[in-house]
Symmetry: C3
């Protein structure tokens, strides 16, 4: 939460110094590599746009008062507004002013990345109070050749099989949509750096759309190694968890996340892939079709504060951020801990009692929870079921099955089979 | 509706002049080929029966009054009744009289095609008023060598892949069961003749059972070209649509009709195949197993007026006939318009904005309906999804996806793949 | 029921004379082969335990009264208790006394087969009345080298394809759990001996766990011939039927039992396999994975009287035993009667009327029940559907389809295809 609070005031966009400042802040926690890609670089069907930086922007009324002021809230400016300094009557200014009539006290968030334009966002109440003008409109911005910046961290594991975590870093002062994902991803990366890992983990902190396109264009050779992936966003609000499946719908990551959420105490939803949302749109485009889903609490567009000044720090719950992180750690625990096992004693049940793994007094009504996990693992350890398969069929959390499997390996009743791709 | 009204008084059966008159009437609309198959011709396990024609039939009471009179309603005669002229007491006549005790004012419809017999159908009220007699029974019919008549129309398309529409023409004055299907099929054929078509369309107007058996027996070489088919009946009543699946249950026609009905404003039901009903029984016999379903509103046997004098013109709704035709046209639109497409830009989303296919102001809550259709087509255009697949996955009507695909083809972002069988 | 009553007083265990006496009783009905396997014989991961026999056991209070007496109820002794004759104060005796605090008038059933121990089971009310003692504890038992006994009956059929029925015989005076299965299996075997059978039927009357392990270990060459199997238990209580599926979940026996139960008048449940319960645990261990389910009424552990003195004769219903037997006979009828058939007239429907298999008067609202069965068989007789497939798709009992198929074979319209494995 402290990291979210620190990042909140920075005016990020898809390029510019706000992104760089954000990445530098994250580098205090994790050794991010920062990449700079020049404007004009072709990336797939797109071109890296000019870099945009803004120093100040305001609208002065005829009395010289700042009726709209970028310094008060960086959502006041339409992202990528070109510089301007002009006197304009209200009628001419009007098409450049954006409000939310249904939420008259909130400032909307608007962008115009790929069509040169300028504009201001303000509350509908502000707009209603404006007289005819004329108004002096000042936008002190730079829009020209520069770079697109993004951060990347690879935590290498025993194999090249890579798990991708991607979050966007292009939103200005929006808390749930953007900063929650950035903060949780950073803390997850901190945690993973302390572990011995079978998989490699790649974290991307990128501007939305153009950032994932840029990474994909520059790293086609690495794409094939991605065996699981998650886009992270909206992870700090009070809602339950939402998992949006990968395009495939039946990828391993889809099963893993569903299993973890089903065995969690918090309500959850699983929604099918749709080609709209965050960067899963790019990862799941047909030419890549990566096994990448999107983990959120309340999804983009489904909470009223979305893309407005109301998506601020007061929308976030520290316990939600912590719970989102815990869910991600459990997802990683399944990714790391799953395996196909084979019983060394497949004909009939082995005699667990003589190995201290079974109650000695018979006739009780039912087997205990852990006892059942042992029996499930032994019964399904035919070389065709993974531990996750067993957990699903037994209806118990992965961790319970994993613990039973570990006990059976220790008793030399079970052996792990070599991983297969 | 006018066509139904014109055809209603004709006394049709599985053979005879009523069938010929009906086919001649249809020839005013479509260039039907009329086939005549001699009695005694072997068709599969069956034999074309004698031809039956009837001029008059009545029962005279002792006072010489016509208590039952074919001239009043051609349902009064059991179809295929042999000629007779005899004086009979009521006790002997009784087994030859058929009524509907539960519907005392309706005349039932009965046939005895393949067992020589004679009989009258009358209202239960009429029967109850009959005294002991004796009665003079007169049936002035011919039952002897002749022909079975049926009509056929082939509308050729670019390929030999054939779509079959079949309806029965063997019922006398019954409106929903028989005439509604005949009229809608005729109007559909009129419409298709005006189009440029990828598929060929074959329309059959045939007597039930023996007609489809006859066509199948004489056209085994054409059967393999039938890629989709529908039997049409009961298309004029006030009920919602019913689609009875083909024997396969997962044929393309089953998906297509289900899609069209699901995206229609009128309630519908999909029912599995059962080997009873109309000529789908023959088309779906195991030796042919054609992809032929049956489209109806309220199915045979499920409306009280079925096979009685109450299935008359007052049961029909002109708007139901028009809606049934509209549904069939939409089914044909899917059959004709479906295709497998491939994105020419499959890696990442193409930049739709620069092609005028995307809103330029970003940050809105959700994509528009048509925008989503564009994104779905691009996302699924991997050469493995048909446009119908896309419509189903996107949950939108086929026409919406088709329009999006056309826009993307025009923008050179999409290409149609050659059709595969 | 008379057989259950006769067997009820015998003190059975996993070995010993109670088992032998039980098997001898069954031999009055069916020619069981009794096998004796020496203690110490290795069977898979297990070893045949010592043989246990008990003559008497009691606890004397300081006044010399038998406060717990094996002669009153053979559940009073923990199975496999070693001999003892000692004076013990209550505090030391207490860990050897087992009760059901929630059911203070019932005696629990407890065993300690594989860990040498001794103990008594008593009602909680008895325990509460015990003073400090000291008590004289006497167990007059033998626990030493001997044999494990089990009974086996093979009823040979035309083929070696074998159907296994297995029930446990190791419980002392428990009626539903144990004796109901024994009695129903015995009566089923009596019935099958009177029939000409396509399959061979193997009945096992064995001590739980160690008995099935012993049979499997000694008969690995016969295991592959088992094409269907059922463990039988708890078949006499007033509850509906429960079928626990085989580990495979989609074995033929799973479909067959589900079909029979679905077409039965008594409520039923189908539950998935879990690796706990009766000997299906061993038959379904991954090294064998036999198609063996478990047929019960109220399952083990789900009725309150389970494994207590309340599972006595008063819990059983003669009509439940009879119904369980009837269900098993219907299951056998499907196993024996199923076949894949092929129409000799697959193109179009054959003309049933001329063969006396169809109503001659047409126009009725719907086909009769038996008529529909004829049509279903003809429609699905493509060489790919079994009669059971047809019954499932038609939604009618197997017997109805079988009768229709027999009529069609008699009319030379259908032929049975040779059985395939």
């Amino acid at each position: 939460m402290a990291l979210v609070e620190e990042l909140f005031p920075i005016c990020r966009s898809i390029t510019g110094n706000g992104v760089r400042e954000t990445l530098e802040t994250l580098r205090r926690f994790i050794p991010l590599e920062v990449n700079e890609v020049p404007s004009g670089t072709g990336v797939l069907d797109w071109t890296v746009p000019p870099e945009w930086n803004i120093r100040d922007a305001y609208i002065l009324d005829p009395d010289g008062r700042r009726v709209v002021d970028f310094a008060a809230n960086n959502l006041h400016i339409v992202q990528y507004s070109r510089p301007i300094d002009a006197m304009i009557p209200l009628g001419e200014l009007r098409p450049h002013l954006h409000t939310l009539p249904d939420q008259p006290d909130w400032i909307p968030y608007r962008t115009s990345y790929y069509t040169e334009n300028w504009g201001f966002c303000l509350t509908h109440r502000q707009l209603s109070s404006l007289a005819d003008g004329p108004y002096r409109v000042v936008i002190d911005s730079d829009l020209g050749p520069g770079h697109l910046s993004y951060g990347e961290l690879l935590i290498p594991g025993e194999t090249d099989d890579t798990v991708l975590f991607s979050c966007h870093i292009c939103h200005p002062s929006l808390a749930n949509d953007n900063l929650s994902g950035i903060a949780v991803a950073t803390m997850l990366a901190c945690h993973l750096q302390t572990l011995r890992l079978r998989h490699s983990y790649r974290f991307l902190f990128i501007p939305g759309t153009i950032g994932s396109l840029t990474w994909l264009a520059r790293n086609e050779d690495k794409v094939g190694r991605i065996v699981h992936g998650l886009v992270l966003s909206c992870l700090g609000d009070a809602g339950g968890m939402t998992y949006k499946q990968s395009r495939r719908g039946n990828a391993a990551i889809d099963r893993i996340v569903a299993h973890v959420l089903r065995n969690d105490e918090v309500p959850h939803r699983i929604t099918p892939f749709v080609p709209y949302g965050y960067d899963e749109r790019q990862y799941c485009s047909p030419g890549f079709d990566l096994p990448v889903g999107c983990l959120m609490r309340t999804p983009n567009g489904e909470y009223p504060e979305y893309h407005s000044s109301a998506d601020n720090l007061s929308l976030l719950r520290p316990e939600s951020l912590a719970h989102s992180l815990a869910v991600l750690r459990r997802i990683v625990a399944v990714i790391e801990g799953d395996a196909v096992c084979r019983s060394r004693n497949p004909k009939g049940e082995p005699q667990l009692g003589q190995r201290g793994l079974y109650e000695t007094m018979g006739g009780q009504r039912a087997a205990s929870y852990d006892q059942m996990a042992l029996l499930w693992v032994l019964n399904l350890a035919d070389g065709h079921h993974s531990l996750l398969d067993m957990a699903e069929r037994a209806g118990v959390p992965f961790a319970t099955i994993r613990a039973a499997a570990d006990a059976l390996v220790a008793a030399e009743l079970l052996e792990r089979m070599p991983a297969q791709r």
